[in-house]
């Protein structure tokens, strides 16, 4: 196990070590103190534990790595992640998993506004609630919310599927509730299992795109 102490080492030291010829498969980062850009651009199948709170873009563009933050994270955790897993033991600020293409993002606490904005294939599972405009223009992947969702959920959604157990304050343009069929219950159970959450899939509702805004029609102008 390799430990990097950010009370003495710099963020550059950490990322450079993670981008190099990595021999150690397990890494521990101590004293992160909310620093930005921790463990970004990692392209190795390594395990990274960040013991404390992280700032913006923690684990940004992650590939292959399993990153666990034992604390809260700032804006854009796992932004544009391609693969691997990012787990936040605490809560996340806004734009969690923004534009992420793949992998799994788990937030055990709450996530702020625009969770999963423009997501492109990632799976996001949130143990708590999410803020407004989540999944705005989301394109692909799945978002699971065990708590509540704020205003305008799934506004201008493309093909992302959203599962919410609690209350949805309001749905955004072109986002509708859809039937929970057997395949969706199965899909949701698998996501909950991977995230390590014990919840009954039957207690969730599914939301998706009505697909009425996929091609511009002037009759829909009020929805834009």
């Amino acid at each position: 196990m390799k430990t990097i102490d950010l009370s003495s080492a710099s963020v550059r030291d950490l990322n450079q070590a993670l981008h190099g010829d990595v021999q150690d498969r397990e890494w521990v980062v101590t004293h992160p103190a909310g620093k930005h850009n921790l463990a970004v651009g990692v392209n190795q199948a390594v395990s990274i534990d960040i013991n404390g709170h992280a700032g913006y873009y923690c684990a940004g563009m992650n590939q292959k790595a399993s990153v666990t933050v034992h604390g809260n994270v700032g804006v854009g955790v796992a932004e544009n992640m391609m693969s691997g897993t990012v787990r936040v033991k605490g809560s996340a600020s806004q734009a969690a998993g923004a534009t992420a293409h793949g992998g799994l993002l788990v937030i055990e606490g709450d996530a702020g506004a625009r969770c999963g904005i423009s997501m492109k294939g990632v799976d996001i599972v949130v143990g708590g609630s999410i803020g407004h405009m989540s999944c705005f223009m989301a394109q692909a992947g799945r978002l699971v919310v065990c708590g509540d969702a704020g205003d305008a959920l799934g506004d201008s959604l493309y093909e992302t599927r959203i599962y919410v157990r609690g209350e949805v304050k309001s749905l955004g343009s072109d986002c509708i509730e859809k039937e929970m069929r057997a395949e969706h219950l199965e899909e949701l159970q698998e996501l909950l299992n991977r995230a390590g959450f014990d919840a009954d899939p039957a207690s969730f509702k599914r939301y998706g795109s009505a697909r009425t805004l996929y091609n511009f029609k002037v009759d829909n102008a009020s929805a834009y």
Partner: protein, 440 residues
């Protein structure tokens, strides 16, 4: 017997035929007009400036004998690997999707022959353009279509796009007719769906966040690549200052004459400012920060010939970028296509329906049959020729001003033909020492 008079038809200056036609079109369709290209109306431009060739008080250099350097190094502020270009004319970002794969390849070929860079666009990097581009700038756009860290690492520089001259503040749109299987796959969207590109980045909300985003991209690429920040010209003085403060290596400033693949006509013609007044504001911002020539300035938006290049550099740019002109050099709007263009309601020299994907030149299309018409090798050669001409023309003018490098041109080599241009470019009105707003 009274004499019959034929009445003289008088067109309204306010409601001219074009305006009337647009009102009729709007009434019929209920939707604004969307097109590609750039502004069509006359705007203050480099034509309103003149270069002062040497005579007695200045000493010219001998054309074709005495050297006039053209190279430029971009990204000298922080990047471990700045880009060294042979010429200060680069190719602006244009997406695969808006353009065919052959067109993207041709841009890469032409730029590489001439010793300069080309730039990706919305939708990601194609193997064709990476393979043929000696220097490739990877755009980091609000939509993040096709964005991935492998391509970031393959790029020679990263350009964070905050705006575009044709539509500062506006997003993009690739209409469904151009969204083929390949384009859709690169953008993770269904085939045939209109693809809206966001007007702002999804995970930051202001200049403080931009500083962190720039740092993130530097960390991911181990501080090797220059980070450009592209701004659509509207408030360049403030935008440049904030971008430099956020850590940009290079500023790309795109004036309102800049092109677009598709956007609202009203947006193209009425939002942003021309590149002429934008450059002095940007240069002032850089000078006040002590960063002029340290953070390089690339300007674009209607660059057409070597005079434009020389004048932009005299105003303080380090390099220029071309977009629409590069497409014309590849073969867009060529007279030999006139008959075909007329069949789709246009004509050579007028074609701007790039959003429809029916470009008979095979450039602004995803139709496989049309795309095949563009030979990327031959088109690349044409682009390289055009780039050479731009540089030769600019060198000729710089030598006439007594300058041994294009970067030695400065505002004292310029005068303005109109009071308006003098005020905007901050150079004297021709024949006077008067710069409006700066006294005598």
């Amino acid at each position: 017997m009274s004499e019959k008079h034929t009445p003289v038809l008088r067109e309204s200056a306010t409601f001219d035929r074009l305006t009337i036609q647009e009102i009729q079109r709007a009434a019929e369709t209920g939707i604004y007009d969307i097109r590609g290209g750039g502004t069509k109306r006359k705007l203050p431009h480099f034509d309103d400036l003149l270069l002062l060739g040497a005579s007695v008080s200045r000493y010219p250099l001998e054309g074709y004998r005495e050297k006039c350097g053209t190279d430029v190094v971009l990204g000298t502020r922080f990047a471990k690997k700045p880009i060294h270009l042979k010429i200060p004319v680069t190719i602006a970002g244009m997406s695969f999707g808006a353009l065919s794969a052959n067109a993207k390849e041709a841009l890469g070929r032409g730029a590489s022959i001439a010793g300069t860079s080309t730039t990706t666009g919305d939708g990601g990097m194609t193997p064709e353009e990476r393979g043929q581009s000696q220097h490739l700038v990877y755009q980091y756009l609000p939509s993040r279509y096709g964005m991935n860290p492998d391509d970031l690492r393959k790029a020679d520089a990263i350009e964070i796009v905050l705006g575009q001259g044709a539509k500062p503040g506006g997003g993009g749109m690739l209409l469904g007719m151009k969204v083929t299987e390949r384009v859709a796959g690169m953008r993770t969207l269904p085939v045939g769906v209109d693809q809206r590109s966001a007007c702002r980045h999804p995970d930051w909300t202001g200049p403080d966040d931009l500083a962190i985003k720039i740092a993130e991209l530097r960390e991911i690429t181990d501080w090797e690549k220059p980070i450009y920040v592209k701004i659509g010209a509207s408030r360049p003085y403030y935008d440049v200052k904030l971008a430099v403060k956020a850590g940009a290596d290079v500023i790309v400033l795109d004036g309102m004459q800049g092109g677009t693949a598709a956007t609202q006509e009203v947006f193209i013609e009425h939002v942003g400012i021309p590149i002429l007044p934008a450059i002095p504001q940007a240069v002032q911002a850089l000078q006040e920060m002590g960063m002029h020539r340290k953070v390089q300035l690339i300007v674009s938006g209607g660059i057409r010939n070597g005079a434009d290049v020389a004048k932009a550099m005299a105003l303080g740019a380090d390099a220029v970028a071309i977009g629409t002109a590069a497409l014309v050099a590849l073969g867009d709007n060529h007279p030999r296509l006139d008959d075909e263009l007329k069949k789709i309601g246009s004509a050579a020299g007028y074609y701007d329906d790039w959003q429809n994907g029916r470009d008979p030149a095979g450039i602004t299309t995803q139709d496989p049959e049309l795309s095949k018409r563009l030979d990327p090798v031959e088109a690349g050669r044409r682009l390289a020729n055009y780039l050479r001409v731009l540089v030769l023309e600019a060198q000729t003018m710089a030598r006439a001003c007594g300058k041994s490098h294009l970067h030695n041109l400065d505002p004292e080599d310029l005068v303005a033909l109109t009071v308006e241009a003098a005020a905007m470019a901050r150079v004297p009105l021709a024949g006077t020492s008067w710069i409006p707003g700066q006294g005598y």
